[in-house]
Symmetry: C2
Subunit: 301 residues, 2 copies
């Protein structure tokens, strides 16, 4: 699982501060999460292959999270894309995008499939044999979802030498990996635990941006390996955070602690702060394993 | 009159190639012409004061000319703008912008005034005591206008020493500048030509992008000091230019020559060309005074 931060700043884009966008590589997918203005250039700058993006998840319809989407969709068309593109985002996103394509007489020549969201309860919006993606309903000035990316438990790991020694025929290996006991060439039943090891534990990534402090997400994201939680403000601006329905670094850390996540990544910084290290130290007083998002930074976990 | 090129590349934005946007400083105004994705960052990079922009002219609704507009409008709001912003562009632009603001629950707190265009004949869309702006109907895949910015003739220049010598009272200087003969302190009529010089000739700037080769614009832009004309392609791609309703450098130069403009600025280059100097040499064979637009380059004239 690899997360690349394309932008982690709030509100207005600047020369060196990009609005929210990130790509998550997980189980062969490359998911784009949010798409502020300039995301397509950030994808180029970070050498992300456009064609690998097949699913885009938009948290909410504030500009710093979605004004880059229509340009990205248009660029895919100009580059001759043929593969489907799935867009998951709040109700209304389809109209906003299609109206602009219509005005430019620039319909895509690849299938553009919208999955509009309006539920206030968590729901699974993508699933294949290796992972699920579910919404995390958040609390912000407009309808907003975070997203929880959860790997499914993998197959058990075959211990090849043990299987050979136990004279288990190759044709049964898939069954073994699925956890079954099998009969060997001599007709003996070989218990699965002699032939396999536990798989890598499935990983999970929770993305929570933008949101006011919202303890009810804790249950849903409990034990996630990594949590990206917005921290637009520092604690001394907590009244401003309340008013604008954003979180402070302290509140993000409180969520991380209660949810017992592995690592907390902070981001969505307000432009008012010059030095961002205060975000880390403020959160660090509550939750130990904190890292700061930076535009262009990748995390492997 | 000062023109700053914020972006002069066609189609998809890249790390070092920005889509179309430029600012024209003329008679105290700062006009923004087109607004591709990333224009607000280009404005910052080129240190253009946001508050000075009160009029935005959008040629057509292809993404590389207008996807940056909604973000710019939103940023103005976040920065606390109070002054009116006037947007001139094709019919439909108002709906595209307002729908996105509505979805984000992000109405501007300053007056946002749309002037939607749908005429196929030139029309004056802005006028004050110092200049006019008129549309130049162009020929492209969607409804498109260029813009002609024309200074009005200024007042005649007072020759102070001559006026004093002729004993003309100060209170008459304004009348003199307006071209009138006046009576001096001795009761003599002083002819205006003794008191004034011709003013600076009024300047004009013609912006033509995007368009197929369109000789009918020649009459309208005749004698302009500066013509910015798109040249998406070189002549060996002229069939592609025809098909996509763009121009070649050779065609842009032919327009410049027929219109007897002072300077031709080329831009809107296709991304397929590495070295742009061929644009200059191709156009230079037909029209002498050619310069190449570059992102971040300013021209004073």
């Amino acid at each position: 699982m690899k997360l690349t931060i394309l932008g982690c700043h709030s509100a207005t884009p600047k020369v060196t501060a990009h609005p929210t966008a990130q790509v998550l590589e997980i189980k062969g997918h490359l998911f784009l999460i949010d798409c502020g203005e300039g995301t397509q250039v950030q994808l180029r700058r970070n050498k992300v292959k456009f064609s690998r993006i097949r699913h885009v998840f938009i948290s909410h319809l504030h500009g710093d999270h979605f004004f880059g989407l229509v340009g990205l969709i248009s660029t895919f068309r100009l580059l001759g894309r043929e593969a489907e593109l799935h867009i998951y985002g709040p109700k209304g996103i389809k109209e906003a995008i299609t109206l602009q394509l219509k005005l430019g007489n620039s319909w895509t020549n690849y299938p553009l499939i919208f999955h509009e969201l309006d539920s206030n309860s968590p729901e699974v919006i993508f699933e294949d044999d290796k992972l699920t993606v579910e919404t995390i309903p958040l609390k912000h000035r407009v309808y907003t979802n975070g997203f929880l990316f959860r790997e499914k438990p993998g197959e058990r790991k075959l211990i090849l030498k043990a299987a050979q020694k136990a004279k288990v025929d190759k044709s049964l290996f898939n069954k073994v990996k699925q956890g079954y006991d099998v009969e060997n060439e001599l007709g003996d039943i070989i218990p699965n635990e002699l032939l396999t090891e536990d798989p890598e534990p499935p990983k999970s990534y929770a993305y929570c941006s933008d949101t006011a402090y919202l303890p009810r997400v804790v249950n849903q994201i409990k034990g996630s390996d990594v949590l990206y939680h917005e921290s637009t403000f520092l604690d001394h601006h907590h009244l401003l955070a309340e008013k604008t329905m954003h979180s402070t670094a302290k509140e993000a850390a409180a969520i991380a602690k209660k949810a017992e996540v592995g690592t907390l990544i902070l981001g969505h910084y307000s432009g008012r702060y010059g030095d961002l290290s205060a975000f880390k130290s403020e959160a660090g007083q509550i939750f130990e394993n904190v890292v700061l998002a930076e535009d262009g930074k990748s995390f492997e976990f």
